[in-house]
């Protein structure tokens, strides 16, 4: 039983986290196409590439601006929506709820298109030119995303409001508060945790949104848009390093939240005021029985040592070595294939035309440097035909790494060697 449970957990977490781990590893491997195996050289150059990639950096900037705008708009609209829900005539409540929740169920693509069309109409009606702010990508994206993110926020607020004692507002009114004062001093502080959750939720939803944004971004592509475009035109491991950074940030964020919560619980359990425990950094006590904190410390140590290592370590030596190795291997391969071709020519001459030359060529399959089955099929073609055609065909046909990695490599190496890098 225990064994099965363990196995299940391994499979489960492998399924959840495996892709992230693999992707992170590819960010530290030197080949120009992201892949984890075969491992060549440990490198940090992709972080540099990422940092110097104007489009990515710009995309992050736009994503942040849009994210902040969406948070503000969605949280305000979500809160207003949830408050109306508590005030509305009970018979209308269910209908109202359905209407306000509907945007979550509508496909993001539809929301994107309708936002675009709607504001374009408004723009025309108001007689503005096509470069007015109503056509601004940031403006449209914030509005478009907020249409459904506000509904998420509303759900968060509704959950919190259900636990609110209306008597508290009444008590405030009874003591002479105006409605605005009662809202500001009683309801708003009560909703504060929900505001935090809704803001985080809204930001994440905005940051990762693609299908609505793709219609509205105009001149301001967000990170997701940039990434999608990159994938379309071929990617390099700097994307993996970005993924790695995002994963690390998420883990650090989640862990610090967890630690804060634990401390607070600890404080309450001990009957001490919260500030007394959350105020100072009390590592030893904190570490006791707190796995989250331990992981955090390990992560921090790991992070620092990585940075230190990165500043000292240079992958150049390793790379040259690998390159030499590859070149030798490549040469060998080329020779081999040429040899085979010659043999084949001879066979053709003997047996007449053969359509599937590669099929009858077990040697190629076995000895191709990549593992993928495609590799061997394409290999001879690539060598026959000119380079560029061979490289575009597989990358658009098959975005997987393993399957056509070898093709890429041969190409790259060939070019590199030719240019005498």
């Amino acid at each position: 039983m225990k064994v099965f449970l363990g196995l299940y957990l391994v499979v489960f977490f492998g399924y959840l986290l495996g892709p992230l781990v693999i992707m992170s590893i590819t960010g530290f491997n030197s080949p120009g196409f992201p892949r984890a195996a075969p491992w060549e050289c440990l490198t940090f150059e992709w972080f540099d590439v990422l940092y110097n990639d104007k489009r990515i950096v710009n995309g992050i900037q736009n994503s942040l601006i849009i994210g902040i705008g969406t948070v503000i708009l969605s949280v305000v609209m979500g809160m207003a929506g949830s408050l109306v829900l508590t005030q509305i005539w009970p018979k209308l409540r269910a209908t109202y709820y359905t209407i306000v929740i509907a945007p979550i169920l509508i496909p993001g693509v539809v929301l994107g298109i309708s936002t675009l069309v709607f504001w374009d109409r408004i723009n025309v009606m108001l007689g503005f030119t096509s470069d007015s702010f109503l056509h601004n990508g940031i403006f449209l994206t914030i509005l478009g995303q907020s249409t459904f993110i506000a509904s998420y926020c509303m759900l968060v607020f509704v959950a919190r409001l259900q636990r609110f004692d209306v008597g508290l507002t009444e008590a405030a009114l009874d003591l002479g508060a105006t409605n605005v004062q009662a809202f500001r001093k009683i309801l708003l502080p009560f909703l504060k945790p929900a505001i935090g959750s809704a803001a985080v939720l809204a930001f994440l939803a905005s940051f990762e949104n693609y299908n609505t944004t793709t219609f509205t971004f105009g001149k301001y592509p967000t990170l997701t848009i940039e990434l999608a475009q990159k994938v379309r035109y071929g990617i390099n491991p700097s994307i993996s390093t970005l993924a790695f950074l995002i994963v690390v940030l998420t883990i650090v964020g989640a862990l610090s939240h967890e630690i804060y919560q634990r401390r607070k619980q600890l404080a309450l359990a001990n009957g001490a005021p919260v500030g007394a425990v959350t105020g100072g950094f009390q590592l030893p006590k904190l570490l006791r029985g707190n796995p989250a904190a331990i992981v955090m410390v390990i992560l921090a140590v790991g992070g620092f040592s990585t940075i230190w290592f990165a500043s000292v370590y240079s992958p150049e030596a390793c790379k040259i070595e690998v390159r030499e190795e590859k070149r030798a291997h490549q040469q060998q391969l080329i020779d081999q294939i040429k040899q085979q071709q010659i043999e084949r020519e001879q066979q053709k001459l003997q047996k007449g035309p053969d359509i599937f030359g590669a099929d009858k060529n077990p040697a190629g399959t076995l000895e191709s440097p990549g593992k993928g089955s495609f590799g061997s099929v394409f290999d001879p073609q690539n060598l026959d035909k000119a380079g560029p055609e061979g490289s575009t065909a597989p990358s658009s046909a098959n975005p997987g790494a393993g399957a056509f990695g070898s093709v890429f490599d041969t190409q790259n190496l060939k070019k590199q060697t030719e240019s005498g890098n």
Partner: protein
């Protein structure tokens, strides 16, 4: 008394849809007095209080505070402060901030508020506890904070909605005295709501007894107890033995009722029935347990009840003797403990007698337990 601000309800009806929560309430509450609404849960007490504090408008009729019609005036503009049934202390504010909330919304600075809070904390015997959160206080302490918070607003009328119901017995009795003292000290009108007749009788100048939306009787505590005006009041306030029957004769404010099993019983006609009860009417006789004594001369009729003793219990200040009464209901008699050893009369017939002046005849009506 008389100096404070009075409250008046004139023909007040309160309806929720088809449901009538308060029916034709006419109440005149003298300024500076301690007035209680007493009634079982769900009879509309809170609803009346909410109409006075402004959280709901009567469907019909008027609420006047200090002679002024309150129609259209919101709760934050009325000179009332309400102590909620669940107290409704602000959980995220410290005790002193809770107490001075009414000052905060007037824009009074923190230093002044703190000073006022400390004065009030001293009054409610919670000196030095101002920086705690409400969740860190005990039930009785929360109670007092709620009172201080309401008093801090300097209302003309303080409304209290079953404020002691969540406390344990000892604390409840202590807080009764304390509340009464506070009321006498500050001299404002208190309107107090409770389903506990002990609270209503001990604290109030006047009590209104309610039964599902209807006010049956408004009177001082003693009149309510000694001279109930309806069978409901008679059975709800204090303990009472009930005997049913038909009126046989009426004279000089006294009536003789022939009961099914206990024979003829004589008693004073109570409440508004004095002038219109006549022979042949269905009636009920109410005799308090302490009004009974053991008959010395068993020959009399009209003020004696003979029944089988089924149970006896010793309660400290009293012996309770239970006898088999009408329709399976038991008759209870309480004898003051005078320190003499009594011999048991279990299983024997016993004849009880009472003073007809202390018993009440009322036209047949609804009882509290029914």
């Amino acid at each position: 008394m008389g100096a404070g601000v009075g409250v008046e309800l004139k023909d007040v009806w309160i309806r929720f849809g088809d449901f009538v929560a308060v029916r034709e309430a006419n109440v005149n509450i003298e300024g500076g007095s301690f007035f209680s609404f007493l009634g079982p849960s769900g009879c509309g007490k809170t609803t009346i209080l909410r109409a006075v504090s402004g959280f709901l408008e009567p469907s019909d009729g008027q609420v006047l505070i200090g002679g002024k019609d309150m129609a259209g005036i919101g709760p934050n503009k009325r000179p009332t402060a309400l102590i909620f049934q669940n107290l409704a202390l602000f959980p995220l504010m410290k005790v002193w901030e809770n107490i001075t909330f009414s000052l905060e919304v007037q824009g009074i600075g923190a230093a002044d508020r703190r000073k006022r809070a400390d004065e009030l904390l001293e009054m409610i015997a919670l000196t030095g506890q101002g920086d705690k959160l409400p969740s860190e206080l005990s039930g009785g302490q929360k109670q007092r904070v709620a009172i201080a918070r309401a008093l801090c607003a300097q209302p003309d009328v303080l409304l209290l909605d079953e404020p002691l119901s969540a406390l344990d017995l000892k604390l409840r009795q202590h807080m009764r005295t304390e509340l009464r003292q506070i009321q006498q000290r500050v001299g404002i009108t208190f309107i107090y709501i409770t389903h506990d007749q002990g609270e209503a009788l001990t604290m109030s100048d006047r009590v209104a007894v309610m039964r599902h939306g209807i006010i049956d009787q408004i009177s001082d505590g003693q009149s309510i107890y000694d001279d109930p005006s309806t069978p409901f009041v008679a059975s709800f306030v204090g303990e009472n033995n009930v005997f049913r029957g038909k009126v046989k004769s009426v004279e000089n404010g006294m009536a003789v009722v022939s009961t099914n099993r206990t024979g003829d019983l004589r008693a004073r006609i109570g409440g508004a029935a004095k002038n219109n009860l006549k022979a042949g009417d269905e009636a009920m006789i109410f005799i308090r347990p302490e009004a009974f004594s053991i008959a010395t001369d068993t020959g009399n009729t009209g003020n004696q009840v003979k029944a089988l003793v089924t149970n006896e219990e010793f309660e400290g200040q009293a012996y309770n003797v239970f006898l088999e009464g009408d329709e399976g209901k038991q008759i209870k008699m309480s004898l003051v403990n005078q320190g003499k050893v009594r011999s048991s009369s279990m299983g024997k017939d016993m004849t009880l007698e009472y003073d007809p002046e202390q018993a009440t005849v009322l036209p047949k009506g609804e009882l509290a337990s029914e």
